[in-house]
Structure formats: C-alpha cells, structure tokens
Point group: none
Chain length 206, copies 4
DNA sequence: CGCTAACCGAGACGGTACGTCCAGTCTTGCT
DNA sequence: AGCAAGACTGGACGTACCGTCTCGGTTAGCG
C-alpha cells in the first residue's frame, strides 16, 4: 500500500541505492494537474501523464497504486497551500465569507477537479478513503472550527453540531455544481441566511 | 442523435421497414440494470450487456450513442414507475415524508445507481443533458409541487422559491451519500426541521 | 441452390403470384459491376449494392446465395456479349489475334474484375465451380476451337492438345497481370512466337 | 510504416527501452502459419492468432499494419529456408528440376498458401509490394540465375531473356493451380520441353 | 374486376471480426 | 537502486458487414 506516495520508510532499513527523485515527483504531479484541467478527468491517461512529465509509466506505478491515486495526489499537492481563511472579523462574518468562498471555489477550475474527484471516488473505495481523509475531513474541520468559534462567542446556540451546519451550507451548493446549475454569491448568501435562520430558533417567540 | 432511443413518434409518418423490437429493447435495459447492481458502474461492459440480454453489440449501438446512454436509459426505465408519493395528509406532512424518502432512496440499490449516474454525467455533457431532463427535473418538479401546495395552504410563507427549499432538503443528503457518511431518517428529520425553521422566520418574531 | 439466379422452374408448377422483376435483377447486376470497378473487389458490400440499385438486401439474398455469387453474376452479365472473335483470316492468324486480345483484356477494367474473381474463387469452392463452368471453360473452348482449326488446316501438328497450347499462351500473361507487371502487345507477340516455335518442332528438322 | 516488422537495423543507434521479444514474434508467425494451413486464408482471425500464440491482439497490431501483413510475414518466415536448389548437374538439367519443383510446390500446403497470398495481394497494394519484393522477386531471381547459367554454358541461345523463360515455365502452372486443374510432373515436363523447344530455334534447319 | 400469392423496399437483428485504446506489469540498459 | 524507454497482456470499445428476419405495401394474372 503506497497510498499517498510516501515511501514506507517506517523507521529502520536506511534505503540503499539511488534515492527517489523529488524533481520527478513534482514533475509528475504538476503535469497531471495540467492535464486534469485541460482534458477533464476520464480523458487523462497514464501515458499522457508520463509523456507530459518526461517520465516512464513504470515510475508512475512505482510510487502510486493506480491512476486515480495520482490524480488525487495531484489535486492535493496543488491545492494544499491555497486555503487563505480569514482570521479577522466576527466568527459569524467569517462563516459567511466561508460560505461564499465555497461557491467561488466550486465554480473555479480547482472546483471542477474537486467535483470530478468526488465522482471518481464512487467507483473506487481505496480512493474514497484517501479523498475522505486528505481532502474532505481537513476542509470540513476548518469549517467546523469557525462554527465552533461562533458557538463559543454566543453567536450561535450551543445545542448545534458544527458538522451539521457545515453540511447544510455546502450540500446544496455541491448539488447545484454537480448539476451545472447557476451558483453565485447571491445564491450562497441566500443559503447562508436560510441556514442561520434555521439554526437560531431563539430569535423566535416574543 | 439517438439519445434516449425513443422513437421520433412525430405523430404522422409511420416508419417504414421492420419495426424495432420492443422485446429486445426491454431485454437490453433489464439486463443492463441487473448488471449495474451486480457489478457496479464502471464494471459493466457493452458485451456483457449484449450477452446477458441475448443481443448483439451492434444492436446496442444502433439505438444508443454509447455505453453511458444505455446505463442512463436502464435507470430511467427501471425507476420510472416507482414514485409513490403520498396523496393524503397536509402539504407540510407530505414534504416531510418526501424528505425522509430521499434518505431511504439514496441508501437503496437504486439510489446507488443514481449516485453513480450523478458521477458519470460529470464527464459527458450529452449524458448530462439526458440525466438533467429525464431524471433530475421530473423529480425536482414533484418536490416543488409539494412545496407550492404548502405555500398555497399558507403553511409556508409566499416569498419562498420551491426549488430553493427542495435543494436545501436534498443537497445535504446527497453530499453525505456521496461521501458514504451515515444517512438515516433521524438525520433527514433534522434537516427537514432546520430548513423549515429557516424558511418560516416570520412566525417567530415578536 | 439458387446459383445463377434462374428460378428452378424445372417443369411443372407454373409459378403463381407476382413474377420476379427483371428490371430489379438488371439494376442489381449493373450496380454491382459499377461498384466492382469503382471500389475493387473486397470493398463492395451487400448494402452498397442494395443502395446503389435501389433494392433491399433481402432481395439480393432471395436470388443469390451470397455476395460472391452476385459478383460473379454481375461479371457474367456484363461481359457475356463482348467476345467479338475474328472470323476471317487463317486459323494461325486468328490465334495470334486471340493471344493479343488476352493481353488487352487483362489490362482492361473487365480484366481487373476477372483477375479479382480468379482470386476470390480460391476461398470459395462453390464460387469456383460457377466461375469454372461459366467463365473459364467457355472462354477456353473458344481458344481451343481456333487451335483445332489450325490443326485441321495443317498449320499446327496433329499431336498437339489445344488446351495445352491455350494454357501456354494465357498462363504467362495471367501471371504477369496478377503481379501487376507490364503486359502489352509486344510481350503477347513474343509469347505467341515462342509457343508456336515450341509447338512446331517438326518444321525444323530435316 | 511497420510493414514487415523488421527492426530498422540501421547499424547505429541501438534502440532504447525493452527490446522486442523474439520469442513472441516467432510464436505469432508460427501460430499464424498453423492456422493458415488449418483454416484456409479468410478464416484466420486476428484473435485466433493471438489466442493460438498466447499473445494479445495489441501486440499483433504493434508490429504489423493489418492481418494480411501478418499472413504474408508468416509465409515468408516459414518458407524462407526451404529452397533446396540443386547444385549439381548441367544448367539445363537443373532448370528442368526447377520446373518440376514448381509443380510439386504449387500442389503442396505451402503452395496453397502461396496461391492465397497471390490472391490476397490483388486487393491490397501495400501487401502487393511486400509480396512482390520479398516473395516473388527472390524466387524469380533464383530461376533466372539457372537460365543465365544455361546461356553461359551455351545450352541456351544468347538472345534470350531469362525472366521471359521463367515466366513461360511458371505461368501456365500457376494458372492451372489457380483453377484447381490437375498439375503433375508429367505436365510440368511437357511445359519444360515445349518452352525449351520454343527457346532453341537454332536446332531447326537441317 | 377482385383475390391472392409472391414480390419488394426498408431496415432491425444476431453474430463475428476488425483495429484502436488504455491500465498496469515487465524487461533492458543507463546513471 | 532509480529511472526512461517501451514491449507486453488483457480486455473493452465502437464500427462494419454478412445473411436472416419482419413489416407493410405493391403487382401480376388466375378466377
């Protein structure tokens, strides 16, 4: 199980021979992401990746279990560092911004790749694990943290489960994106307002 | 464009030549659906379908553009008549039932196929049109009708867009299903309550 | 066995119902020959013939056993009446003309079809019989008759077998034609002279 | 243009990557020839070859342009080394033996394949080139060499073209073989005598 | 003059082969 | 040992064509 392409390297056994080329690894992932955006998801072949990266197919499969794993890794590698979550403002304002960012993201090129990954994992349990742990959960944790901040700040009632709120904010947007329906800031705002209204029953009653 | 393989049926002009065998068509779609459930989505080959249906591959491609189109059609054919929506009860009660049914459906075998189709259309625009028009919109219309009934009955405020409400009810469930997270009646109920609370803010005030 | 497309019509049983359309038969054979010259031999499909002749494939197979049989028949029909053998001149002069005509023929469009048929029969025994009896033997008989005339006229020695002579005159030309090597009147003349010289050894002696 | 699937072999530039498996190549050609003799010519399918050789169809088409090319190559490979031309005896005696060998060959299993190839090339120009250069010309050259020896030895007159003589010896035999007419040593002898008589006009006259 | 058998065009169908494409593995020699 | 190059297996894809099979409509020529 080579999974995410990190050599076992468990502890002992200092590897002899020529070490793995980091340059090669990067070239592969970058080439993959380029092809991913250019050709869609199904239309990226292993030999295309190899060709684009100036690498042999054997090298691909030496480090990743299968093509899907490469695609996932390429997505991870490329999007790892682009999560500029707001630090300033009230938790609720930050949650609102977060919601709008989701809409933006889903419409972007990266979002398209995200949606394609979301599709691909339906057929491949191993890939699903990887996606769940390395993409879904981390992002979800970010969102939940904001909700928790809001709860702690008293802006949201305590009985609420952050994960539920985030799911309510994201789910409808993902569905629209999957169906290629319009998805913009206004719509995201409406969702935010609706979910917040549903989440704060205290307001009601005299 | 053979798309969904439905006869032109433009009233007049009876088609000449040997008519298409309805028996064959049914055999193909049934065999396809059987394989769909047995083997998953990617692991259904055209020749498997042909073999299982006792048909030649040429016949497949005479009526459908490609394998995906057959899969979509098989889904349509099989699930066409299984929408037993409640007729009794208040609109709001029916909407609640509708929401719970979604959860059930997404967990069922048919739901799995639905999710696979939802994934497959990401790669194939032609297929997407077919799915959108023949699966998504009709189902969506059913839900919207219930919401409209509720509005008409004064159970929901007038300023609301039915499609928005339905999207809020379904989106979060679809997302959980796609991620293979738990999805049960309790969760569906929570969603329903939350969305309803968000949709009826006026009642509360004062 | 419908073979050459003449209804059994053995003797009794006057056929009732609508008789076969002669127009259709002609249209098929003409269309076939047209395609034969245009597309080569393997590249004529039954549906092409049907299309070109404005006929259904069923009609084709009602009257001929298979595609090859149609092709043979088309050749027969078209070339039946184009054998204008010389009547004047000495038998030997006529034999010489005959030899030259072979060269011309093999280079012509009809000759090409002839060569293709000659090839096709290698794979199909039934077709071979038809070709042998309806094309090869009749033509061969014509040639043999001329040789016999020459023998009778004392222009060739009596111990000679006409079929052997004709084979010597034709075989080398067919081989060259099959290999697409040059084949012209001069070459044919050379063959004729050579065979005649070989056939009349007696003259020399003394 | 992979044509005859022979390595470029342009002296320099040793090819990089995994070299072609000679074992595989041999297995394919042998299996092909086996099928060729067993099933006839048209009844050899690419997948049969693949199956019989324990090879994938993709490998077939990597090295040969199409099925016909494989068949030609199989013939070449198998018959390459079976040309046991006589070295002893006078040139004329050797030419006579050569003529008789032709008759034998055309009746043999290999001869059948040869005739089928001769037919197949009528439809396929690329194949024709290959056949002409790799089968026809080499064999023809052998025959011509014998004739030339005879000329040099004064057994045949100088004004004669070897190729013409060979064509006269072979053409009639090929024609008979194509028509599946009897072809035996006696007939071949007769042809030899006839052609020799026609070729040596000097004998005549007192 | 109408009946009826047989014809015919259109085109669906089963079967079979084709040649292409791709995933993933294996082999060779270079670094 | 890593790696590029690229051969190889296995198997699906979608196309083409053959010869058969319905359909519905048409056309002799017997009654």
């Amino acid at each position: 199980m080579k999974a995410t392409a990190s050599r076992p390297s468990g502890l002992s056994k200092r590897p002899t021979g020529r070490p793995r080329s980091e340059k090669t690894r990067k070239a592969i992932l970058k080439a993959t992401f380029r092809l991913l955006k250019r050709n869609g998801f199904d239309n990226v072949s292993a030999q295309q990746i190899a060709g684009e990266a100036g690498v042999s197919t054997a090298t691909l499969y030496r480090w990743w279990d299968n093509k899907q794993a490469i695609l996932l890794d390429a997505y991870l590698e490329t999007t790892r560092d682009i999560l500029p979550h707001e630090k300033r403002g009230s938790p609720l304002a930050r949650l609102r911004t977060y919601t709008l960012r989701i809409a933006e993201f889903l419409q972007s090129a990266n979002g398209t790749v995200f949606l394609r990954l979301l599709s691909a994992i339906q057929e491949d349990p191993a890939l699903r694990r990887g996606f769940y742990e390395n993409v879904f959960l981390p992002r979800r944790a970010e969102g939940c943290a904001i909700v928790q901040d809001a709860i702690d700040a008293g802006e949201l009632p305590g009985g609420i489960q952050p994960d539920f709120i985030i799911n309510q904010l994201i789910g409808p947007q993902v569905l629209r994106a999957l169906m290629r329906q319009e998805l913009n800031a206004k719509y995201a705002r409406r969702i935010f307002d609706s979910v917040m209204a549903g989440a704060s029953p205290k307001k009601r009653r005299s």
